[in-house]
């Protein structure tokens, strides 16, 4: 715990120092990044020790108002803490360089970043409701401040507002949840909390409250708006880390609520399926890289929720081994997604900085200009598509294993598992399609508009490289993962992961993964040998006989995704603006399709509009003469007197 506290204080001190130094941009950013790195160096070993079985550590205090508070490091917390500290340190390092290069005032950014890391670390470590909620809301506020860095742009402001308001609505549910828990068990400490009679209702509160933060469908509307407008290292951090706190909260709440009915797990599974499918489908319809990545966060949260849902359902049906696999998949995917999604956002940020745009149909051919960024982006793309031998595959495999295990539960769970299997398979295919589209449109082919792009500086590439290396390492780690996940899973499922015996699977997956790399390399070198003697010729791409191919004639990202979008148009409701050909010699033609979110378009926006109109009507109808004011007092008096006096 000492190390953990040292890490927390490193964050706090660096935030303070960064704030005090805010006049010197360089110093301030360096201090901020330094704090995050120091926290990672101090905190990760401590948390890792916890994963390997060090005794649980906690500190407690009592506030003057009599509320008990505590911080505790248990395996579940340790797992998240490692992810948080690792990714945040890399994002901070990247952010230092990219903010320096941006040339605009950094305002609070340097101070806010260590602070939000601190808040998230406390969220994870909190062992009482009040500390948890405070850190939770602090995290919301700070992420809002980080997102609205470039608040001169109207879209940034509206996205920030949407984020703040929706996540706060979620927090209201959490306030209710913890207030009920605290009153029914008479303590704010997690250790003493017992769920009252209907845990399902409380679980619903938790699902909504944490679901909003996690960006689960249908509470996701804020996510694709807010993540793209933030500075890239912040987007990376939000997508990689902040939304995962929703998952952490859900897991923690399930521990607090004790045995839950099976339907809770199945509802979560359903939310997961919906999030995963709709997330990836919406991503396909996107034309902007960071928005596309943001929708993929929804997809991956869906996968995590599927694992969690199976875990909870299996737990309630007394199949701890299946539950262990589900939770293991969820936990590992939390970390994996944190790694590759932040890698992708950081790479996208480098592209945005180099080209000034992230519109897929304006980019292209960047691989030649930004080879390292391209390599890392492609690596991240393969990882997020769940392709072996990278880390995304391993966690998806664990989720698959748990779903297969769930095929032997009750009929309802079986049905859920079948649907989820089909959905997860489809999601895998669609994600690969979408990332083929993104990688292809940005890095491959030739530039669609002329840009003078340069490779990102080394200080930005290095954090990305570390993330990429971590993706590969986890993909090849094999049974080591079982060791790492053993205790967190035991905490959630009641039995350690090894009781579900995934060691063999992971061992073979790692071995085959290594063999895959080796054989691909062998084939590559074999071909080189063959071609050594006969030097290959160079020519333009075969244009199928057309003599004057131009870069603008390349297949665009939009057309690439069109067949899939067309298949799923009943789910996506794309908005279409068409200027169709008229007459014999049509002149202007145009076709635009926007994948505007159906939840936003048909539910949220109309509701907000209706509310605003209704309120405005009441406001206008309210008289402003003093006579009416007095009448209101008079009426209140008579009503209360008549009501109050028997």
């Amino acid at each position: 715990m000492t190390l953990i506290l040292a890490a927390l204080s490193a964050l706090a001190v660096s935030a303070l120092a960064a704030a005090l130094l805010s006049r010197q941009r360089g110093m301030s950013l360096a201090v901020s990044a330094g704090g995050c790195v120091a926290a990672a160096l101090l905190g990760i070993p401590a948390a890792a020790g916890q994963l390997l079985g060090a005794p649980a550590a906690r500190i407690r205090w009592t506030t003057p108002l009599g509320a008990a508070g505590a911080l505790a490091l248990d395996p579940l917390a340790a797992w998240f803490l490692i992810t948080v500290l690792f990714v945040s340190a890399l994002c901070a390092l990247y952010g230092r360089r990219s903010l320096l290069a941006s040339g605009r005032a950094i305002s609070g950014q340097a101070a806010f970043f260590p602070l939000i890391v601190l808040a998230i670390a406390v969220v994870v470590l909190a062992a009482d409701a009040l500390t948890f909620l405070m850190a939770w809301e602090l995290m919301t506020v700070l992420s809002f401040l980080l997102v609205t860095h470039e608040h001169e742009r109207a879209e940034v402001r509206s996205a920030g507002l949407l984020y703040l308001v929706l996540t706060h609505a979620g927090t209201s549910c959490l306030l209710a949840l913890f207030a009920v828990l605290a009153t029914s068990s008479g303590t704010l400490l997690f250790a003493g909390m017992r769920a009252p009679a209907q845990p399902a209702v409380l679980f619903a509160l938790a699902a909504v409250g944490f679901g909003v933060k996690a960006g689960a469908w249908p509470f996701h509307v804020w996510l694709p708006a807010a993540h793209p407008v933030a500075p890239s290292h912040v987007s990376a951090f939000l997508s990689g880390i902040v939304i995962k706190t929703g998952i952490y909260g859900l897991l923690r709440a399930s521990l607090l609520l004790g045995p839950l009915p099976t339907r809770c797990g199945l509802v979560l599974l359903g939310l997961g399926v919906a999030s995963a499918l709709l997330g990836v489908l919406s991503a396909l319809a996107q034309h902007e890289l960071k928005r596309l990545l943001a929708y993929h966060s929804i997809e991956n949260i869906g996968i995590i929720l599927m694992g969690t849902g199976v875990g909870l359902a299996a737990l309630s049906l007394h199949r701890p081994a299946v539950a262990a696999l589900g939770f293991a998949g969820a936990l590992l995917h939390v970390t994996n997604h944190a790694l590759f999604k932040s890698l992708l956002f950081l790479a996208a940020g480098a592209v945005g900085k180099a080209c000034g745009t992230l519109q897929l149909d304006r980019l292209g051919g960047l691989l030649r200009k930004m080879p390292h960024t391209a390599l890392l982006f492609a690596l991240g793309a393969a990882a997020i598509s769940g392709l072996p031998p990278l880390n995304g595959f391993v966690s998806e495999l664990l989720v698959y294993l748990s779903l297969f295990g769930a095929l032997r539960l009750t009929p309802l769970a079986q049905a859920g598992a079948v649907v989820s299997l089909a959905a997860l398979a489809c999601v895998g295919g669609l994600a690969a399609a979408c990332f083929a589209k993104a990688t292809g449109a940005v890095f491959l082919g030739t530039a669609r508009t002329p840009v003078d792009a340069h490779e990102a500086p080394r200080e930005m590439l290095l954090p990305m490289a570390v993330l990429g290396a971590a993706c590969v390492a986890i993909g090849l780690a094999g049974p080591l993962l079982v060791r790492a996940l053993e205790l967190p899973v035991a905490q959630l499922a009641g039995v350690p992961l090894s009781s579900a015996a995934p060691q063999d699977t992971l061992k073979f997956v790692a071995a085959l993964g290594a063999a895959f790399i080796a054989s691909a390399a062998a084939l590559w070198f074999a071909r080189r040998r063959l071609l050594l003697a006969r030097a290959p010729a160079a020519s333009p791409t075969w244009g199928c006989g057309y003599a004057l191919p131009a870069p603008s004639m390349q297949y665009t990202a939009a057309s690439f995704a069109q067949p899939l979008v067309a298949v799923f148009r009943t789910v996506l409701f794309p908005e279409r603006h068409a200027l169709l050909p008229v007459g014999t010699f049509p002149t202007a033609l145009a076709l635009e399709e926007h994948g505007r979110d159906p939840i936003d378009r048909f539910l949220l926006a109309p509701a907000v509009r209706a509310g605003a109109l209704g309120f405005a009507f009441v406001r206008r109808a309210t008289p402003s003469r003093v006579q009416w004011y007095v009448l209101a007092v008079f009426v209140a008096l008579v009503v209360l007197l008549l009501w109050g006096i028997p």
Binding site: V141, V165, A176, V180, V626, V633
Partner: protein
């Protein structure tokens, strides 16, 4: 000591009248406010004693709210220097005298241990505030003052009636009665119908002064037209002392074994206030009126919390402190904005963070504090109240409505204030912000922060002692 505390502003009010220069008047006010604050702070350590057989004495809630008011006055006194220097020049004779009279009245309210005297003190504060509202002498200020006076007077008249009813309720078989708080709370047999009627009247009466809906209508008009520092005093100090009235009435009711009755009314009025405020906050176009409605909302939270026993009262008392400081800070910032942009229409205010970085930051901080976000004190108090509202198997709908209204208000406030703070500024460089106009709101905000992170021990003790008055003896 108590006598000094009360005489100081009263004499200063009289003494400021013949002074030659307005400058000297403001200096006098500053000195008195500072001395007042010092005396009040000293009272935390030295028992202040009592006056007139104990008609005037300080108990825990009185001391809390007195300290709060004194702090607000001191802050506004510092602020006024910078504000008036840039404001429209007007003679300050009446203004300063009224300010000092208000300070006197507010201090008096906090010390009253007799419900009749309490009423007199509150009425005095109402009257003392009227010239402050009318400071700008414009047609709009006139209208606001008139509305304030009429609605406030009707309300306060009802409170007087409530006080009379209380005395009737306390009449014993020997024909003797009392309005001493200690007697009323001692478990005297109180006549139930009269007590009920009295509670309704006191709640409506002091509720009007607090600005509970539906008696709140004067509030946006008054706060919207008063000079912002005055609005800050009204929203911070005057509403808090009015709340003290509701607190006293509730404690009497609870001790008489009528806590269920009192709770139902308090919760009802609290929720109505929060609901009405939410409706009027969403889409509001004037930031000073917005703050007024936010004040209505927080007054609703206060009485809502009061409806839930000791725990709720503890939350409400903490809320009174945090809310008053937050409102003080926000109105002072609003004053800066008004002077900078010359209008209180939100549509004309944009990019404050760029144009006046400190005021902008304070605006955002104040907003977050007012919305009950951590690490500010209102988060703790709102959560405490929420917990209290769910305790003991109480029905969940009040808590659900409470959370719902809070969420709608959150939406409205954010949508209104954030676009003011953020965005590009039309002017090139940041404007000059004199220290005296930013230090007081910053101090208030810092105090709210402290209340959210670690409530100082003496304050926590005082809150606990005050909340115990809301329990059965």
């Amino acid at each position: 000591m108590l006598a000094t505390l009360l005489l100081l502003p009263a004499l200063a009010a009289a003494g400021s009248w013949p002074l030659k220069s307005d400058r000297a008047r403001v200096q006098l006010f500053r000195a008195v406010a500072a001395a007042h604050l010092l005396i009040v702070l000293a009272m935390w350590n030295l028992p202040p004693g009592q006056l007139f057989d104990g008609s005037l004495a300080l108990d825990a809630p009185g001391l809390l709210i007195l300290t709060l008011s004194s702090l607000l006055f001191a802050g506004v006194a510092v602020y006024l220097g910078g504000y008036l220097a840039r404001a429209e020049q007007r003679p300050l004779r009446i203004f300063v005298a009224a300010l000092l009279a208000l300070l006197f009245a507010v201090s008096l309210v906090c010390c009253c241990q007799h419900m009749g005297l309490f009423w007199v003190a509150i009425e005095t504060s109402t009257l003392a505030a009227a010239p402050l509202l009318f400071f700008h002498h414009s047609g709009r200020a006139l209208e606001a003052t008139w509305k304030y006076l009429i609605v406030g007077s009707v309300g306060i008249a009802l409170a007087l009636l409530g006080t009379v009813f209380l005395a009737v309720a306390a009449t014993n078989s020997a024909g003797e009665t009392t309005l001493w708080l200690s007697d009323l709370r001692a478990g005297h047999a109180l006549a139930k119908p009269w007590l009920h009627a009295s509670f309704v009247l006191l709640l409506i009466g002091y509720g009007t002064k607090m600005g509970l809906a539906p008696m709140h209508a004067w509030k946006p008009d008054a706060y919207g037209e008063a000079p912002p520092p005055v609005a800050g005093l009204l929203a911070g100090a005057v509403t808090s002392v009015a709340f003290l009235g509701v607190l006293r009435a509730t404690s009497i009711c609870v001790r008489a074994g009528e806590s269920a009755y009192a709770s139902s009314l308090l919760v009802l009025l609290g929720l109505v206030s929060m609901g009405v405020a939410a409706v009027f906050i969403v889409g509001q176009s004037d930031y000073r009126r917005l703050l007024a409605y936010s004040s209505v909302e927080h007054m609703g939270i206060l009485v809502f919390g009061l409806g839930f026993g000791i725990a709720g009262a503890q939350g409400a008392l903490l809320h009174v402190l945090s809310n008053a400081l937050t409102k003080g800070a926000l109105f002072l910032v609003a004053g800066n904005l008004l002077q900078l942009y010359g209008t209180s229409a939100m549509s004309s205010v944009e990019g404050v963070l760029r144009r006046a970085p400190v005021s902008g930051a304070l605006l955002v901080i104040g907003l977050f504090a007012a919305l009950g976000l951590p690490p500010f004190g209102l988060f703790i108090s709102e959560f405490t109240i929420l917990r209290a509202s769910l305790a003991g198997g109480a029905p969940a709908w009040p808590a659900a409505l409470y959370l719902g209204f809070l969420a709608v208000t959150f939406l409205g406030m954010c949508a209104a204030v954030l676009p003011m703070a953020q965005g590009a500024s039309p002017e090139s460089g940041p404007a000059r912000e004199p220290l005296s106009t930013i230090v007081p709101p910053a101090v208030f905000a810092a105090a709210v922060l402290v209340l959210g992170v670690w409530v100082p021990q003496p304050i926590a003790k005082a809150i606990a002692a005050a909340a115990r008055q809301l329990g059965m003896s």
